[in-house]
């Protein structure tokens, strides 16, 4: 048990009016302080490499996406947001997704897909805005998910740095 002893109020405090004056002065000063409001759509939120925005597919320098439709992200996705159908190509890596859909309404931005990807093909971008007029329009296909490597480079470097923690220094890769 704690006994709280109240402070005796001074006469000025008991008269109340001087204290009202002080309070009014305080709020008047506050009117001229710097504003903290962010005008959101015009002033976007600052993002950095730790920001986990919506997942995006990396486009390699040769113009193809790095994804081989292995389905690891599909399995890792806790929200069942990803649907992949594989298909064959003539390139050296003979498999690519014919369909790669992420239902952005289901996506919870957890980043498991990025972690699961063995091909460094999917990364969490810093894109956070999501709005449209129909649910179907928010199921993003490959074309909507494609991003050039340069747009994701900050995040890629950050993820590589994180992964280095788990690599043994002796490892030869």
């Amino acid at each position: 048990m704690v006994i709280v002893k109240r402070r005796e109020l001074t006469l000025a405090e008991r008269l109340y009016l001087p204290e009202i004056g002080r309070a009014l002065a305080l709020s008047l000063r506050a009117m001229f302080r710097k504003r903290v409001t962010r005008q959101y759509p015009e002033e976007p939120l600052p993002t950095n490499e730790v920001t986990r925005g919506q997942p995006r597919l990396v486009v390699k320098d040769d113009g193809n996406i790095a994804c081989v439709s292995c389905g690891m992200c599909e399995v890792a996705c806790p929200a069942y947001a990803i649907t992949i159908d594989g298909g064959e190509t003539d390139r050296a890596i003979e498999r690519e997704p014919k369909r790669f859909d992420i239902d952005m309404l289901r996506c919870i931005l957890c980043g498991f897909c990025e972690e699961a990807c063995p091909k460094d093909a999917i990364y969490m971008s810093d894109e956070l805005e999501l709005a449209d007029f129909s649910r179907q329009a928010l199921v993003y296909d490959i074309e909507k998910l494609k991003r050039p490597r340069s747009a994701l480079q900050k995040r890629i470097d950050y993820v590589n740095k994180l992964n280095d923690r788990w690599r043994k220094p002796s490892s030869t890769r």
Partner: protein, 339 residues
């Protein structure tokens, strides 16, 4: 300029003044949000029109199109008429406020007020006292315990503070020797030292405190009192009728500010410019009135609400004796020839 009959001039005058009153009330809803934002390091509404100036219009449109609900078990007639009853008295009271001196309008010399009554201060108090009916009826007819409690509190508060308000005005009336607001204002014209704020500072203080209580504003807004009573007397209201309550509140605030300006700050008088033209007087009047309006907002966003027993104690045990003392002291000083 064509000469118009006197009655038409009056109609025009009334239309202008009521239009102005409603605009001020609308702007107050914006000012309320702006000032609160500024005091909280925010920006406030700025999306509708430049600096958000059209926000009241947008709000009005929104209120118009909202669905209106009447709670089950409510008294539909009283429920529907109560907001109008709450808004009306404040609008009536503005009729006798003397905004400026005589002007020439369409060939008729007339004063810049809707009408001039020899007992205008009495009229203001009488009409202003009716405002509580809207709140009581609104709260009672809602068939909700919160609304009823809110209106009960409002009526108790109104009874308690109206006494002190009238007594503080009485001191001013005594000083001027007239019940006519225009005479009261003109009596202070000469110079700032003769303004009633200087001659009767205690009366001014009492008036300001009671003015907050009379308009149900912070820190005396027990009729609403969101934390305990959800929304108080207007809990069950929605759409335009809800907005009407607020329109009434802002009109009442405006009228009270005008009254304070007339009673204590000599209306539109400007110090050291005894024969100022009517537009300068009007401007001066508006500046003084705005200062009181700002005080309303400033206090609202600074002070916390009282407890209800504190409110009652303050009203009956502090303000009422002080007001009586003030009246007698003023009378005594006048008798002694000091004032």
């Amino acid at each position: 300029m064509p000469e118009l009959p006197l009655w038409l001039v009056w109609v025009i005058k009334a239309a202008v003044i009521y239009g102005a009153l409603l605009s001020v009330a609308g702007l107050m809803s914006l000012a309320e949000r702006k000032v609160s934002a500024w005091m909280q390091y925010r920006i406030g509404p700025n999306r509708v029109g430049p600096f958000g100036l059209l926000q009241p219009l947008a709000d009005g449109v929104k209120f118009m199109f909202k669905e209106e609900l009447v709670p089950a078990g409510a008294n539909p007639f009283l429920f529907r008429i109560a907001p109008a009853l709450a808004a009306l008295p404040a609008m009536l009271a503005v009729a006798v406020i003397p905004f400026a001196g005589e002007i020439e309008l369409f060939g008729q010399r007339t004063t810049l007020s809707v009408t001039d009554l020899p007992i205008s201060s009495l009229y203001v108090l009488a009409v202003g006292g009716l405002g509580i009916y809207g709140i009581i009826l609104g709260g009672w007819s809602s068939n909700s315990k919160y609304s009823l409690l809110g209106s009960l509190r409002a009526s108790a508060q109104m009874v308690s503070y109206e006494l002190s308000l009238i007594l503080s005005i009485l001191a001013v009336v005594a000083l001027s020797g007239s019940l006519d607001l225009r005479v009261i204002a003109d009596a202070q014209q000469a110079d700032a030292a003769l303004w009633n704020i200087a001659r009767a500072p205690l009366a001014f203080l009492l008036f300001v405190v009671c003015m907050f209580a009379e308009t149900n504003r912070h820190p005396f807004d027990f009729a609403e009192s969101e934390p305990e009573l959800v929304g108080g007397f207007h809990t069950e209201y929605s759409a335009m009728r809800f907005a009407l309550f607020f329109l009434g509140e802002y009109c009442a605030m405006t009228v009270m500010s005008c009254l304070a300006t007339v009673l204590f700050l000599a209306g539109g008088a400007i110090p050291f410019w005894p024969d100022a033209p009517w537009w300068a007087e009007l401007a001066s009047f508006l500046v003084k009135m705005s200062a009181f309006l700002f005080l309303y907002l400033w206090v609202r966003w600074t002070l916390p609400r009282f407890r209800f027993d504190q409110l009652m104690r303050l009203g009956w045990k502090v303000l009422l004796p002080l007001a009586l003392f003030n009246l007698f002291a003023t009378a005594a000083l006048m008798a002694a020839g000091v004032l």
